[in-house]
Amino acid sequence: MAALRKRINQADMSSDQRDRYVKAVLQMKQTGVYDWYVQTHIDSMWMQTDGTMNMWAHHRPAFLPWHRQFMLDFENDLRTADTALTGKPSDLTLPYWDWINYRSKKKFLWWGRIWGDNFMGPNGSGSNNEVTSGPFQGGGTGWVLSYNSGPGFTPFTPVGPAYLTRQFGQDPNVDSLPTQEQWDAARALTVYDTAPWDSNVGVNPAPSLNPVRFAGINSFRNVFEGWVPYYDSATALPLNVNLHNRVHVWVGGAMGPMSSPNDPVFFLHHCNVDRLWAQWWSDDPSRPYLPKDGEPNPTDPVGDPNPLIDLQGHHLHDPMPPWDGRNDPLKGTMPTITPADVLNHLALGYGYDPDDRVALTASGTP
């Protein structure tokens, strides 16, 4: 078996790695490959011309496996771009943004690494919250955002500006990043997902009845995606945007709508989401992915995006669109990928460094 690719903390990247990463991303943008990821992410939660609304990748069980394949494809395209630029086989991997532990052991902020002008660029500024320095500043002849939806989808309007925007912590409900305590509370859950398999799982309409620190909720997926309120104590006010969602909203600007991959930090964020899912699964690889095949579509009790929740693409062995054999205008014939195919990240050929797994091998057995 080939050596595992090691995905590293962005704070541990060398200046050469950061430089090559940025150049490869800019190369992908120039060739149109980057915008394929923006478009595919839009399509994953957008309306087709026949009026049906997709939920390929959010509010549903395949949230984690869908994004794992999305990230793996992006990493492969990144390496292709790096090879094209350097003329050598690429050893680039996706870096992760550990948004929980963003300080070093000496308590110095790693902030400048990720948000420096030689990597992701800074927070937005001015009345437009525009990112005005770094490699992804722009609009015009610089980094131009894409809002195109794919063939067979309705146009995505209204749209944001052509330039990158960020508003760190400016949402009145999200002035901080997720904490270790919140992740530990999510990690302690043992059931991947449960009916009705949407963003209402584990959400009690009566706030006083919500469990403290996610206790007893039978949906690691919905908690980790961020739809379940977090109560630090029985008398605490809830945090209503959590974990994965909280990071999107905290960054703000272009990270808010379904075109969120327009901000390159999307991929560092979701690399960390993937790493944390790997931690959770490594805690006990015998935990099953749910729903299993044949689970019927439930009716949403409170009118989530689709009244009838379509689980196609979310059962264990369902192909996950767009990895369903379709002919893609840019990528050609797409492979068929199911959640079952991507549950073990080591079997996909990559790991995380540092890696705290204790019980997992590429064969999926302890």
Binding site: M45, W46, M47, M53, H58, N128, T157, P158, V159, G160, P161, A162, T165, Q167, D171, N173, V174, S199, V203, P205, G226, W227, N240, V241, H244, N245, H248, V249, G252, G253, A254, M255, G256, P257, M258, S260, V302, G303, D304, P305
Partner: protein, 69 residues
Amino acid sequence: MAERALTHKGHSIVINDDPDEMTVSIDGEPLRVFGAAGRYWTPHQGYQQFDSLDDLARAVAAITRKPDR
């Protein structure tokens, strides 16, 4: 509640929160909105749910391209 109009960050917003025909538009462009019971959602701000359609519309308006740019 009847249809109502407001402005936010230079954008015009029209909201109708009749459950049978719930609509929100910004600068004349309709949004796809879903939900009820204080949990409203739109793919235009896809990572949070909102207590009210007013909050939802303001959040989308905040990231919508300015008409003059």
